[in-house]
């Protein structure tokens, strides 16, 4: 049986299909202004027997595609547990959400926290800040890692932080030090959420597009003092979880 998991995120849509032989293929596309078209394009020429959808657009496809739906929280917990069974905590930083999830040994959700409707400290925040400093996304992380010290960024609001960055540059601050300050700000926001769900320490599974950022990864490990595991493709964790959910319903 071929099982599909679809994660309709705010910035990207991820599709994972697992085969009977244990093989897994994944595809990604930018969500765009018309996610339904993007989904059709992504699913074209893909064969699957059952599907489950997750992500903020999950209810959009319910009724249009033959699929079940689960919340992102459950999907990330399921995906993380299957990809790395020793993890107890999941951090997902996506395009507009941050999720901190505490799991039990079976991957069931014990507690979770999400940011509210504000995109502060999310992937979108990093994108806007990189743009303000004239960096590409990869260069943004490597430049921050090269900084000897960090400029302090006080505002977590995407709009206000951008003004803060611009005024720091106007004062002659070094670009890479501002970059490191921005990375530290996003990490501080994430660790606060993590501490709310788990006062203890256990192995952290880092998922979502922001997990591709090496500077954020190392700052989180340093700040929490725990092992941080990042899967080879951190963006597909929710889709993997959705596929597992679809399979479990058979």
């Amino acid at each position: 049986m071929r099982v599909a998991g679809l994660d309709i995120g705010s910035r990207t849509i991820k599709l994972v299909v697992t085969g009977e032989d244990g093989s897994m293929v994944s595809r990604k596309a930018l969500t765009s202004y018309n996610p339904l078209d993007t989904i059709s394009e992504l699913c074209k020429e893909t064969r699957y027997d059952v599907m489950a959808a997750t992500g903020y657009g999950r209810h959009l496809v319910k009724g249009r595609l033959d699929c079940s739906v689960i919340s992102e929280i459950k999907a990330f917990a399921l995906g993380a547990k299957s990809l790395h069974p020793t993890a107890g905590l999941v951090l997902d930083i996506g395009g507009q959400d941050i999720k901190a999830i505490l799991m039990d040994e079976s991957g069931s959700v014990l507690r979770f926290e999400m940011n509210d409707k504000c995109a502060a400290g999310t992937g979108r925040f990093l994108e806007v800040m990189a743009l303000a400093l004239g960096y590409g996304l990869e260069e943004f992380s490597s430049s921050a890692l090269s900084a000897a010290r960090a400029e302090e960024i006080n505002s977590m609001c995407t709009v206000f932080a951008e003004s803060e960055v611009i005024s720091l540059i106007a004062k002659g601050a070094l670009r890479n030090e501002v970059a490191l300050g921005i990375h530290k700000a996003i990490v501080s926001r994430s660790t606060t959420l993590l501490k709310r769900v788990s006062p203890g320490s256990c192995e952290l599974f880092f998922a979502g597009g922001v997990a591709l950022n090496e500077c954020v990864r190392s700052l989180i490990a340093e700040s929490l003092g725990v092992t941080v595991y990042t899967p080879p493709d951190p963006q597909i964790v929710g889709a993997v979880g959705a596929a597992l959910f679809a399979a479990s319903r058979q």
């Binding site: 505490l102 959700v109 014990l110 006062p199």
Partner: protein, 396 residues
């Protein structure tokens, strides 16, 4: 709601906002010569109002539509309930305010207190100084004095009077309403609850102003219908639906989106611990004390509002509700910028999780619809985690 059962309120207002039914009730009282007093809060002693032959009218506070006008004066990062209330007054769009001849206010929180100063010019207003350390021995003395002063204000404003016996009678009336209300709540405590929050909300809305004598035929009718639903094996949310207790800030109108989301996601709201819910009916007022004003003060100081400190009653009331309604999870609804409920949420959540082992979710929201998607995701995840097994790890 399932169309196969008769609505609890089957009248010309069925399916409409419950404010319309209440307004019709108040207008009919007014046509018969009654004078109306506007109230904003669960601390307003409605028994005193009734004893004076006056009628309490709960003023509008739950619409997003009036917030824009309010923000021309009030800061935007203020509680939506305060902004909405103020917007209703300055736009003159609250029909309850229009027919009220005076307003009773309380110093529950700083935002409200200062907002009341701004609307004082519109109607005769009486602000009651609410003690906030309710367990201190002086609190009962002070609050009794405040209730006596309110009586003087109302007697002067409306040229009326009430004897101790009148107040005692009003106390007995409220107690009867509380008993009837709890008979209704028994149907939510069932393994398969036979009513949803919207019908309960209809009932709460009317009962805020009506006396138990006026409510008697309503209760008879509703209790008979609930009993029939139970005998017919009706289940409002479907058998096995996760049972939810909702606690926190008062919620209505546009903020009721949270309650809608819970039911749409498949949850059954079995306990609703807020001033717009079960809170007014959690305990009786002591009868026959010889000092009914003091008896009122004693009862109102037992309202477990987060404006009180340390408000230990919030936790003991939570225990009582969990025991009676057996929820699978607890949702704390906090209105944006309501500092006292927002901070108290930590204690409440810890108590629910550690003492009762139940999943707990805090939702901070306002009256806009912009966070409906995010709230749905959280509620879905909470309901998914209700029926989990496995052992805990990583916890202290």
């Amino acid at each position: 709601m399932n169309n196969s059962v008769e609505p609890l309120f089957n009248d010309e207002f069925t399916g409409q906002p419950p404010a319309k039914r209440l307004l019709a009730h108040l207008q009919s009282k007014r046509e018969k010569g009654a004078h109306l007093v506007g109230i904003y809060c669960g601390y307003a002693p409605i028994e005193l109002i009734h004893a004076l032959g006056l009628v309490p009218a709960t003023l509008c506070a739950f619409s997003n539509a009036t917030i824009e006008a309010a923000e021309a004066v009030l800061p935007s990062n203020l509680c939506p309930l305060i902004k909405s209330s103020y917007g209703f007054i300055i736009k003159d769009t609250c029909p309850f305010f229009a027919i009220s001849e005076a307003v009773i206010a309380e110093t529950t929180c700083d935002g409200k207190k200062k907002m009341f100063e701004l609307i004082a010019e519109y109607r005769p207003m009486h602000v009651m100084d609410l003690p906030q350390l309710a367990d201190e021995p002086e609190a009962i003395e002070n609050w009794t004095v405040m209730i006596r002063k309110l009586k003087v204000f109302l007697e002067k404003t409306f040229d009326c009077a009430a004897s101790d016996e009148d107040i005692e009678k009003a106390i007995r009336d409220t107690n009867e309403k509380t008993r009837q209300m709890n008979l209704v709540f028994d149907y939510l405590a069932l393994d398969s609850p036979v009513a949803g929050w919207k019908e309960m909300y209809d009932l709460f809305f009317l009962a805020q102003s009506a006396t138990s004598a006026e409510m008697a035929p309503v209760f008879d009718d509703i209790l008979a219908k609930l009993d029939k639903r139970k005998k017919d094996g009706y289940s409002h949310s479907g058998a096995g639906a996760p049972r939810l207790m909702v606690t926190g800030c008062p919620v209505g109108g546009d903020a009721a989106k949270v309650l809608n989301i819970i039911e749409e996601t498949g949850g059954a709201i079995v306990a609703y611990d807020a001033c717009t819910g079960m809170k007014p009916y959690m305990r009786l007022i002591e009868e026959g004390t010889g000092d009914p004003m003091r008896a009122l003060a004693a009862r109102y100081l037992k309202v477990p509002c987060s404006c009180m400190s340390p408000n230990t009653m919030r936790l003991s009331e939570t225990d009582r509700l969990i025991k009676r309604y057996r929820p699978d999870a607890v949702i704390d609804v906090v209105l944006q910028a309501c500092h006292s409920y927002n901070v108290e949420s930590y204690k409440t959540g810890k108590h629910v999780q550690d003492t009762h082992g139940l999943p707990f979710l805090k939702i901070v929201t306002d009256y806009s619809q912009s966070d409906v998607g995010q709230i749905s995701t959280r509620v879905e995840a909470l309901l998914e985690s209700c029926s989990r097994g496995g052992k805990k790890q990583c916890l202290k």
